[in-house]
Symmetry: C2
Subunit: 146 residues, 2 copies
């Protein structure tokens, strides 16, 4: 698996995927409650959201496991997982404080809220499909002091 | 689900999760072939990689569906999905050209390689666990011209 020259660059995760059963519920949670703009929606198949410089893809696995529809000639490979996935958003400490309030006001149960050994705080909830959604301070993964 | 004040900020995806059956194979692919530094590994449970300012989490679902181990007192919520997931890395056009070469040299099959209507190129392969791994130009999701 050795390359013949130095490896090219990757500039980080551009898209993170989760699987959901109900696109409307996903849009209410990620778009409505979390305030992420919807960038694309295809009825019965997916809804995508912008989160900073990244994109959250919410797919219905039963649709994405099939080949692309006839009206979409691009050879997008199939995929699709079952069961609760995981996704983590970056938020500053003051924003995390406010997210905990916003989620509580909205009636979303906080499943966990703690600090990691390096002091970074994480808050966990479930999206309507049961995925584990975390909000964490980016210093969780800082290269120094972690 | 209305908040009582303007929504706090989210600074994008911090962590994207995939599920794998074999952590060594995941490390060979993401760490070895793609060159992502390993930031954390727990035998039998997970291996995490740094990708720019984001983190790729590769989990064994049969382990992460269980409560945290006794040596980890933090109440990390369980999760774990089955079947092929999806992940997309950002790479510039020149880097994508080089990734296509590196992957070919390594014997990784290119499942798809095309340009979207806005001109952004995507290259798709499978990781050893069967997840659909895409490399895309970030202009795929540019706010202008998309």
């Amino acid at each position: 698996m050795a390359a013949t020259q130095a490896a090219p660059s990757l500039d980080g995760v551009l898209e993170a995927a989760i699987y959901v059963d109900d696109l409307d519920a996903a849009e209410a949670f990620y778009g409505g409650l979390l305030g992420l703009p919807v960038v694309l929606r295809q009825a019965g198949r997916h809804v995508f959201f912008r989160a900073g410089s990244t994109i959250v893809l919410a797919f219905r696995a039963e649709a994405t496991r099939e080949a692309p529809a006839a009206d979409n000639a691009l050879p997008v490979p199939p995929h699709g997982a079952e069961g609760p996935g995981h996704l983590c958003f970056a938020a500053s400490g003051p924003d995390l404080d406010r997210w905990a309030e916003v989620l509580a006001v909205a009636g979303v149960a906080i499943e966990a809220d703690f600090r990691w050994p390096n002091g970074a705080r994480s808050v966990y909830v479930r999206d309507p499909a049961g995925n584990s959604v975390e909000f964490a301070e980016p210093k969780l993964w800082a290269t120094e002091g972690a």
